[in-house]
């Protein structure tokens, strides 16, 4: 167990695809055939840039640690290197902390840094600070589209509602789940589904009539 994060640096310019890392890993961990703690990927052989150069080939191998890699924790605790690093025939694997490996990765191109045992986060938990921070913004957004209407004066009892309007507004009430809201600020309507701008404008224009219909419903 190390307290600094350790990783594998792989110089894939010179990996020859020899499989020693795969086999050494398998032997060390007792994996069966077909199980890998590190696996070689291949690109090539193919012409690197056929439109411009008919002779230059590229052929690269990259060994990638799998989800089963534990950076040979047991070996490392004994003072050894991970077995893939120890046995790599092309000597392209290095092992160390991020501080040790960063100068190496800067030294030449075509290298990759892997942290197979890096701690994984609880993604949802990590999102909470942002969510907390967004509370005020979210509330403000809801204000603009609040389903709570402004307090209505008592005039709504005398609102005129013809059949057509009644039909329209009944639909609106159903769609947005409008109900009467009564509190110390007065009497108004509220709903549990956010209307779009058009819907909201329609409700606000006909607030009095809506209140009347809501009152009739009881």
């Amino acid at each position: 167990m190390t307290d600094k994060k350790q990783g594998l640096l792989i110089d894939y310019e010179f990996c020859t695809g020899c499989h020693s890392c795969e086999v050494a890993c398998r032997e060390e961990h007792g994996f069966g055939i077909g199980t890998y703690g590190i696996k070689i990927m291949e690109d090539g052989p193919r012409l690197l840039d056929p439109e411009n150069d008919s002779k230059k080939y590229t052929w690269r191998y990259l060994a990638v640690p799998t989800e089963l890699c534990d950076l040979c924790a047991e070996r490392v605790s004994m003072g050894k290197r991970p077995t893939c690093v120890h046995h790599c025939q092309a000597a392209v694997l290095s092992f160390g902390t991020i501080e040790e490996l960063m100068p190496e990765i800067m030294r030449k191109p075509q290298q990759a840094l892997f942290f197979p045992t890096g701690e994984s986060e609880d993604g949802w938990a990590s999102l909470q600070p942002l969510r907390e921070a967004n509370r005020e913004i979210a509330d403000a957004m809801k204000q603009d589209y609040s389903t709570a209407g402004e307090s209505v004066d008592t005039d709504w009892e005398n609102a005129v509602v013809d059949d057509k309007l009644r039909e329209d507004l009944e639909a609106l009430i159903e769609t947005y789940g409008l109900v009467i809201k009564e509190d110390e600020s007065g009497v108004t309507w509220t709903g549990d589904r956010y209307p779009d701008k058009q819907g909201l404008a329609h409700i606000k224009t006909n607030t009095a009539a809506i209140m009347k219909l809501l009152k009739e419903r009881g």
């Binding site: 020859t16 020899c18 499989h19 020693s20 080939y57 191998y61 120890h86 046995h87 000597a91 160390g96």
Partner: protein, 819 residues
């Protein structure tokens, strides 16, 4: 983190002890090296972890070794699966039933030795020791035990390499080098000195030419391929010469995609450019070489424009590459097997060695250094030849065929061995000893023909790790061999000297060392009686023949030791090479012979030439119409070493089947879908592999795999060894003009899909039940290629390989073959 790869002095000494054996928790850890079976030639330094039952449970790289610095390939990493495999041979076994029935009874080692001794003595009495042939495969750890047993035990001159036609593995290059300079050479990647890249005496090569090998996978001849990657990181540029793009080729400044089998021509182009553009080291040429004018005159005839047509390459690329090599202050060549496995190869190897010499890159830091076995160890094929009766030694099969076989090495030519088995000429073969070789899966060209011929040998012993197709097909006795971790041994070739320490035991398996001295003691007690055990034998090599100051126990303490002799560069200037202590080389002229005097005296073409492979678009144009693809084979895989590792699950999971690679245009042309089983066929035979796209190949070239047998299949069907065997298509007896070299890597073939209609007969069934692709038993009808007619070739000529209608017959030289 350092720019250079992990250096041994950075190993955490709290964890990695200096002791050769120590405890780590519940395990015993032994510091040792691996050589080999199974595995390659390199002897990487290992940590063997054994548990309290003595079982090998884990293998890691030894980070304290300057050789591999803790790095390992997957073959050594997964070694426990091989070592503990239930299918390994456990006990000595005698065959019951017929050859091929795979029926065995267990016997004791003494019973086995009794029987072998009786057979050998009876052959001595009735036929002569020369009727015993001992074979090993690619050499590895058994490189000196098998020859010693053959020469000093069996008293036979006929030590050979597993039916490898023309001894076409390293020996051709080595024989050429012996004749040119008396020395071997290897690319200097700082491996001679434990300080490695930090050695102030070493210089980084600006350019490395990777010629005829894929060293990252093959790690050939005591060279760890990934050292090239180390040097690339330090700034070395590459030139890669290979019919296919490889990872190194993709990183190279120049990738020369040459037609398989034309390296002689390519070498001439390089020589042409460096000489014409005066990129040579006149000081070295004037003071240390002989024959430059002859070489220059030949090279002048071969500009890149001419070579480009032969090699199917771009002339400007060839010129650019040669210029890049020649202009570099320090440049090295990492050469490989492809050079041996073609008729052009021996002469190309000679030319490449000349190239390094005339450009001032011989035995300099970062160039090609002159190498010997550390501490002068007798780890070589000629060990024990002094115990073969000189009259008998003169009967070595193939010796009289060519000047190079006569003087360049002591190996019996494998084609000559086959001929002797087929014809009984010049004498019959009565016993075959196989150790660390699986010829019908691997090295034997014309494998079905070899299979038939070997059946004629009455007594065959196979020392093996696993039951292979060879063991089942031929053996009368099978002896269980120890794997590397079960042996006490030593390793050089080249440096450092390393101890190999037994750390576990598998049933009754015994080491090659023990088998050699135990059986040898039965046959030649005067010689082998000097060794009371394997350690004694090792001490004899260390202190008797070699100049190591210590014994095996000292070496075991140290784990490895570098030979300071090999810290020296420019050894020719310092009088370190010649036996008389004079400056110069161990040659007739005392110089590096660009045009070897031995060749000049015997009428051989003395400088590099080009000769077409026995089957090629130009040497056999009619055949090319029917078999319109150039076939190369034997490219390496990460997963195995030749025919090994096929029974190991980890390795097979990654590479289930043999693949033949074709360009998509070729696939379209021949109606093939990627992933489909296809027949690869020529006039000698056919095999099936799975088609795979490789658009970096020339559309006229295909690459097939080798060494395939299927351990999961029925042993009585020889594990289906002939079904995918590319050596159904390669010929024996098509050697280079020196008798060495064979065209494994440059044949012709056609390819077509496997269908239910054409599936049968499968090659294995055809070979086992019906004799093969044709009747090999009428020896008069068999093709013997250019056997006995090696001679030499004119500079632009062709050789008659007995193909009938093709090719010119070259003018025969003064030298008369004696066999």
């Amino acid at each position: 983190m350092p720019l250079t790869p992990f250096m041994p002095d950075q190993a955490n000494t709290e964890v990695y002890k200096k002791e050769w054996r120590y405890k780590e928790g519940a395990y015993t850890v032994t510091r040792t090296a691996h050589w080999s079976g199974p595995g390659c030639h390199n002897s990487c330094a290992l940590l063997l972890y054994t548990d309290e039952d003595g079982k090998l449970v884990k293998v890691e790289g030894d980070p304290q070794s300057p050789y591999n610095s803790g790095r390992l390939c997957m073959r050594c990493l997964n070694m426990p699966e091989a070592v503990n495999h239930p299918d390994r041979v456990k006990y000595p076994m005698r065959r019951v039933g017929e050859r091929g029935e795979n029926k065995w009874e267990r016997i004791s080692w003494d019973e086995a030795y009794d029987e072998i001794e009786a057979q050998v003595r009876s052959i001595w009495a009735d036929y002569g020791p020369e009727s015993i042939v001992a074979m090993e495969g690619t050499g590895r750890n058994a490189i000196w035990q098998v020859p010693y047993l053959c020469h000093a035990g069996f008293r036979s001159p006929n030590f050979a390499l597993g039916f490898l036609s023309g001894s076409a593995c390293y020996l051709p290059r080595s024989a050429a080098a012996a004749v040119q300079s008396g020395e071997q050479q290897i690319l200097d990647a700082s491996q001679l000195n434990p300080l490695r890249y930090g050695n102030p005496d070493w210089e980084l090569p600006e350019v490395i030419v990777v010629w005829g090998n894929e060293p990252l996978k093959s790690n050939p001849d005591g060279f760890l391929g990934h050292w090239i990657v180390d040097m690339m990181k330090l700034g070395t540029k590459l030139i890669v010469i290979d019919p296919s793009l490889t990872w190194l080729g993709a990183k190279a400044d120049y990738w020369l995609r040459l037609r398989p089998g034309t390296d002689g021509a390519m070498t001439l182009a390089f020589l042409n450019v460096v000489i014409e553009e005066d990129l040579v080291d006149h000081d070295f040429i004037d003071n240390w070489t002989y024959g430059f004018e002859t070489l220059a005159e030949r090279a002048k005839q071969w500009p890149p424009e001419r070579v480009a047509e032969i090699c199917w390459c771009d002339a400007e690329d060839i010129r650019g590459a040669a210029r890049l090599y020649g202009s570099a202050k320090r440049a090295g060549v990492q050469w490989g097997l492809a050079l041996d496995q073609q008729p052009d190869g021996v002469t190309a190897a000679q030319g490449i060695a000349s190239l390094t010499a005339i450009t001032g890159n011989l035995d300099v830091p970062g160039g090609n250094v002159i190498m010997r076995n550390g501490f002068n160890m007798s780890i070589h094929y000629s060990i024990g030849t002094e115990y073969v009766d000189p009259d008998v030694f003169a009967k070595r099969l193939g010796a009289g065929l060519s000047v190079l076989y006569q003087y360049g090495s002591v190996v019996a030519q494998e084609d000559s061995v086959l001929r002797a088995m087929e014809m009984g000429e010049p004498y019959p073969i009565r016993m075959l000893w196989l150790e660390s070789t699986n010829p019908i899966a691997n090295m034997a060209a014309e494998a079905p023909r070899v299979y038939q011929a070997v059946q004629k040998v009455p007594f065959i012993v196979d020392v093996e790790l696993f039951m292979t197709p060879t063991a089942v097909a031929f053996a009368d006795l099978v002896l269980p061999a120890a794997m590397s971790c079960e042996r006490n041994s030593i390793r050089v070739w080249w440096t450092p000297l390393r101890s190999i320490v037994q750390s576990s035991q598998y049933y009754e398996a015994r080491s090659d060392e023990r088998i050699c001295i135990e059986l040898g003691a039965r046959l030649n007690p005067e010689v082998f009686g000097r060794f009371k055990d394997d350690i004694d034998y090792l001490n004899w090599n260390l202190k008797g023949d070699g100049n190591y100051d210590g014994d095996w126990l000292d070496l075991r303490e140290k784990v490895f030791e570098f030979d300071p002799f090999l810290y020296n560069y420019r050894k020719y200037e310092k009088g370190m090479l010649r036996e008389d202590g004079q400056v110069g080389f161990n040659t007739m002229s005392g110089k590096f012979e660009l045009s070897p005097m031995l060749f000049e005296a015997t009428g051989y073409e003395s400088v590099t030439y080009h000769v077409e492979p026995s089957r090629s678009p130009y040497s056999t144009p009619e055949l090319y119409k029917e078999y319109p693809l150039v076939l190369t084979s034997g490219q390496r895989s990460w997963e195995w070493f030749h025919s090994e590792h096929r029974q190991l699950k980890v390795h097979r999971a990654q590479h289930q089947y043999p693949f033949v690679e074709l360009h998509s245009e070729a696939m379209k042309k021949y109606g093939i879908t990627p992933g489909q089983w296809v027949w690869i066929e020529n006039d000698l035979g056919r095999c099936k592999q799975i088609a795979k796209v490789n658009d970096t190949l020339d559309p006229r070239v295909i690459r097939a795999e080798h060494g395939w047998w299927f351990p999961e299949e029925d042993p009585q069907e020889l594990f289906r060894v002939f079904d995918s065997n590319i050596n159904n298509l390669t010929p024996m007896f098509h050697n280079s003009p020196t008798g060495y070299g064979a065209p494994y890597k440059c044949q012709l073939a056609k390819v077509y899909p496997v269908t239910p209609e054409n599936l049968e007969p499968l090659p294995t069934d055809l070979v086992i039940k019906q004799g093969g692709f044709r009747d090999y038993s009428d020896w008069t009808k068999n093709n013997y290629g250019n056997y006995g007619n090696y001679g030499t070739a004119p500079a632009d000529g062709l050789i008659d390989y007995g193909m009938g209608e093709q090719g010119k017959v070259p003018t025969m030289p003064e030298y008369t073959p004696q066999a």
